[in-house]
């Protein structure tokens, strides 16, 4: 079966979404993953966007979370306050899974989407938090899309935009954040998860044909690779839905 790494990443993420999840999506591949989940394994999951759209029909893939495509056939079209209430509400908030991305990630799943270099004289400036810091602060579960590169899996973030497990198992509590934090990281090579006890990242799975050592070679820090298994590639059925239904124009794929 021929498939691209982006297709693999999208399907791996879609499989993590449960039928009773409320899914918070950002721009790009995270949107596609949520659309794929809805078409493949979690038809009843609800997709929502920080812009205030809840349960949009998503007949076409949005190019941004403010795309008019998120406004069509919603359950409710509000604004930012509504969206952030959904993820903090004691009832609905507990069902939310966030999907995030970043320029840098550390071993505890903290994210940088603000700058490379000194914050006060940056070498590279990125978009900034948007709603990323908010969702990372509030929701009980999140997954993160990353490219596996040494400059992205870093020992020390240049800027901590969105809190993961901060400095370890007690990090979020000490900081005053609700319990939660990232559950997994999906990359172009592998799936990483966070150890229940240490909250440090470990290698949970590698894509077919990829050696665990090759994954470590793309990271500044070392992680446990003893639990790594091979991740099941996308099936013909999953690929067909992804290509024909979710992203026929290949805007994201």
């Amino acid at each position: 079966m021929d498939y691209t790494l982006r297709e693999m990443m999208t399907v791996v993420a879609a499989r993590e979404i449960k039928n009773d999840d409320i899914v918070f999506c950002g721009t790009g591949i995270s949107m596609l993953a949520a659309m794929a989940a809805k078409s493949i394994n979690a038809p009843d999951c609800v997709i929502f966007f920080e812009t205030g759209a809840i349960d949009a029909a998503l007949e076409e893939i949005p190019m941004a979370v403010a795309d008019s495509r998120v406004m069509y056939h919603t359950a409710s079209s509000g604004g930012l306050l509504d969206a952030f209430a959904t993820m903090q509400n004691p009832t609905t908030g507990q069902k939310v899974i966030g999907i995030l991305g970043a320029a840098q990630i550390d071993i505890f799943g903290n994210l940088n989407s603000t700058v490379i270099g000194d914050y006060f004289a940056p070498k590279t400036r990125f978009s900034g938090s948007g709603g990323g810091c908010d969702v990372a602060s509030f929701v009980p579960r999140s997954m993160i899309f990353m490219q596996h590169e040494k400059r992205k899996f870093v020992k020390q973030l240049d800027y901590l935009t969105s809190p993961g497990h901060l400095d370890g198992p007690d990090g979020r509590r000490k900081a005053g954040l609700p319990a939660g934090g990232p559950e997994l990281v999906i990359t172009n090579m592998a799936v990483m998860r966070f150890d229940d006890t240490t909250k440090q990242m470990y290698l949970d799975g590698v894509y077919p044909g990829i050696e665990p050592q090759a994954v470590l070679d793309q990271m500044q820090f070392s992680v446990d690779i003893s639990r790594a298994r091979e991740v099941l590639p996308p099936s013909a059925g999953e690929l067909a839905i992804l290509r024909e239904k979710c992203d026929p124009q290949r805007l994201i794929l």
């Binding site: 941004a64 979370v65 403010a66 006060f120 948007g130 509030f138 005053g176």
Partner: protein, 326 residues
């Protein structure tokens, strides 16, 4: 003009001249590539207004063009990006990397709360967002800058132990300060002469931005005559008492989208992204599409009927279905 006046319709140039000045503190509505008040932004650029202090949550095209044209000195922002067209706004990025723009970073929710606090007339609002992050620890504006501008609070934010102890299962909160812009610019689908506004689709944080502001300039796709918006008034989000100027500008959000009217123009946004990467090409872009047109209608005419028809919203979905966005 009184905010209670029944007819606030005026030309865009006059509204900008009256309410937007060098160095003023300005908020912009819309979100990344949707309902940005582009006609007003281009008018500000053509008017040569400088040293603006901007307040936005997630903005894309409007912020980037204002920065690219050299109108902005400082920005308080959560996100500068135009979706897939520019993951990070290009002139925004260049200006920061060149040290030409001072930035204070917040999150989207924090910026929204700051506008809401301004609208409510309270000095700050609490949130748990950003605890443990560099948004709390690193302040873009120096203490000196904050002291030198009476329109700025003396702190970016502050962390407070919950005074109600463990009420709400919360130990601490981040307090974010209210924003009171001198002027806010919005583009809406419908407004009447007094300024009552009806937004279709998502309102983003437009309502909070509108109500936080000392002055509010609204551009609209459709200018509704008489009492039309008093029918089904539960569909209105902003009552006229907040509004200072109403300007009828069809396609006023172009090249960003306006739900139920037109989509974003992928050709424009892609060409913009190419031009924005190169200073010479960017100058050509400004000369052709901004300084080279007298007003927004001239820009729309220059783009041409064929392209404008191509982004016309399909009435069922509110966007241009099957638009080639590659």
């Amino acid at each position: 003009m009184s905010k209670l006046a029944k007819d606030k319709v005026m030309p865009l140039e006059a509204a900008v001249k009256t309410y937007v000045h060098d160095g003023c503190h300005m908020a912009i509505g819309g979100f990344t590539i949707n309902r940005n008040p582009m006609a007003a932004v281009y008018t500000i650029i053509r008017a040569g207004i400088k040293n603006l202090h901007l307040y936005v949550h997630s903005n894309g095209q409007a912020v980037d063009e204002l920065i690219g044209a050299g109108c902005v000195a400082k920005v308080e922002i959560a996100y500068g990006g135009s979706g897939k067209f520019a993951a990070t706004c290009i002139r925004f990025r260049k200006a920061i990397e060149a040290g030409l723009l001072q930035v204070e970073d917040y999150s989207n929710y924090q910026m929204t709360l700051r506008f809401l606090a301004g609208a409510m007339g309270v000095p700050f609002l609490p949130t748990r967002s950003s605890l443990g992050s560099d948004i709390v620890d690193k302040w873009g504006f120096s203490e000196g800058l904050r002291r030198s501008d009476p329109k700025l609070p003396n702190r970016k934010l502050t962390v407070l132990d919950n005074p109600f102890e463990d009420w709400g299962n919360t130990e601490k909160v981040v307090l974010v300060p209210a924003i009171t812009p001198d002027v806010t610019l919005l583009h809406v689908q419908q407004a009447d002469r007094a300024g009552n506004c009806r937004i279709d689709g998502l309102s983003f944080a437009d309502v909070e931005q509108a109500k936080a502001s000392k002055h509010l300039v609204v551009t609209c796709e459709a200018l509704m005559e008489g009492d039309a918006l008093h029918e089904n008034a539960h569909h209105n989000q902003i009552p006229f008492i907040h509004v200072d100027a109403v300007v009828h500008v069809p396609f006023g959000a172009y090249p960003t989208a306006c739900y139920q009217h037109y989509d974003y123009d992928p050709a424009y946004l892609k060409a913009y992204a190419v031009a924005a990467k190169d200073d010479e090409k960017y100058k050509d872009y400004l000369d052709t599409y901004v300084y080279g047109v007298a007003d927004h209608q001239t820009l729309i005419e220059r783009i041409g009927t064929e392209r404008m028809d191509g982004i016309k919203a399909d009435p069922r979905t509110g966007y241009a279905a099957n638009l080639d966005r590659r």
